[in-house]
Symmetry: C2
Subunit: 298 residues, 2 copies
């Protein structure tokens, strides 16, 4: 059984100016590119879509523009994370009314959350929408780690149907997938973020790749996804190897900053990173260009 | 030389409802209590003042109400942390126009910041105000650690005049203070947060105690501060020992959640914690009450 939380989910940047005003025309261009290439879903307003740096009104403008640009060709999964439960509920309502297909919810925190607090947060947001919701586990940015017990509790909520998880430190994808499938319903979808783990995680049976790079480079990301999902180990390894220089830059400098450099190289208008985040320095831009040349050669 | 960043700085809760609307009358009661007791400053909208969970309009209402209640009796240091540089600049301007005496700025982050990004963030906010600004180092909530090199750079900015730091893991207060004084100007004020480190850090020569507990219990906190600042080791140890059960609860459950239980016991109206944060369970409330009885016995 497949859902909107299966396959290649591409996470575009959200073009905006330094005051946080979204450039809806530029966002529409990015979304149209992804829909035309045939990605399985678009992850709008994810971490790569700078959701944490945009206010409610701008996030709504972004969803409306993306819905219009996608024109029904591809499901839109919209990030609705916020520090307050009431804010996340409002964002979920806004996204649903604007035409989102599903929601992505990270347990954003300032004061570290207890399991009980995270549980009531997810229940409250899921209860405020009829859309399917994907749990977004990202301990690096949220300071929160989901226990198997909490995941089992949340996966029993009818419209909480998927989880997006970071790469396992021990790279034991098969073991982690077996463990998580043991505590979640059969139709519950499990996907990874961390682009350099895409090939091994999909080969191990993950349902989805939540991909940063696909937000700007959908074509090679689709090739990697299709090869891995078909079990073509050598083909997947070949595309993965062509990405390796880019993965190294993602790991060292953060994928978000590198995405701005990729967009610049592709002459795509993405505005500016939200201050205090900055574009990378010239030396790194040169390395990004070399990595893109390597990728283009396959 | 002393500044507003010396002595006992008391951090009150910000009374609010579950939708994030500040109860300005209840906040005024808390501020008036602190001013009457004679704390050296009030740390408004700190982590304990739930700044991360309040929007700009509510934060401005809180500052205005606190300025009115303080009535010039005690300086108000206002937290202006936000994820975007432009948001923090707006909050700084709001606080200054409303009558704040100084600012407290944490390097809030979602995507982890580089040193260069943090530096431009602090310079931009400091440049947007004429108020003195205290750096708020809190790696547990912000995922950012200040290097000595970055601190030296920021301490050279004319109106960045203090830092609020967490307790050192090795408890070597004297060593840490000597190291930080070596990279900062003579008048630069260094204070600690983490209430259970107040006695040893003040005895080691720290300039300030940024105190959660003083936001509701200023009297014993002042006794501890004055004993330690006078070098009265035994007196400071005696008050510190009376606080020990409370410190243990702070460490285990988070000081913010325990503060709501203290306020309830004192019959002070503080509204509700911002969802997803919850009040502690009944068993912990009982432990808080026992800890307060122990403190009242000194």
């Amino acid at each position: 059984m497949t859902s909107i939380f299966n396959g290649l989910s591409a996470f575009p940047l959200t073009p905006a100016d330094t005051d946080g005003a979204v450039d809806t025309a530029a966002l529409g261009v990015l979304v149209d590119r992804l829909a035309s290439e045939g990605v399985d879903s678009i992850g709008l307003l994810g971490s790569t879509g700078i959701y944490a740096y945009l206010d409610r009104a701008e996030r709504l403008r972004a969803v409306a523009a993306a819905v219009e640009a996608a024109a029904g060709r591809v499901p839109l999964i919209v990030g609705v994370g916020a520090l307050r439960t009431s804010w996340a509920q409002q964002l979920a309502g806004d996204a649903e009314r604007a035409g989102a297909s599903g929601l992505l919810l990270a347990p954003m925190s300032y004061t570290s959350l207890t399991d009980g607090e995270a549980a009531q947060h997810y229940r409250a947001v899921a209860g405020a929408t009829s859309l399917p919701l994907c749990i977004y586990s990202n301990p690096g940015t949220t300071n929160f780690t989901f226990s198997d017990r909490l995941l089992a509790e949340l996966a029993a909520v009818p419209n909480i149907t998927a989880i997006k998880i970071p790469l396992p430190a021990d790279e034991d994808y098969a073991g982690e997938l077996a463990q998580l499938r043991g505590v979640t319903p059969e139709a519950f979808a499990i996907g990874y973020s961390g682009d350099w783990g895409a090939a091994p995680s999909l080969l191990a049976g993950a349902d989805a790749w939540y991909s940063v790079v696909a937000g700007l480079l959908p074509e090679p990301a689709l090739r990697l996804t299709q090869a891995a999902q078909a079990g073509l180990i050598d083909d997947a390894a070949m595309v993965d190897a062509a990405f390796e220089s880019l993965w190294a830059l993602f790991r060292t400098h953060g994928s978000l900053r590198i995405m701005y450099a990729i967009a610049d190289r592709l002459s795509l208008d993405v505005g500016d990173p939200p201050l205090p985040l900055l574009r990378v320095e010239a030396g790194i831009v040169t390395a990004v260009e070399a990595a893109l040349d390597q990728l283009a050669a396959i």
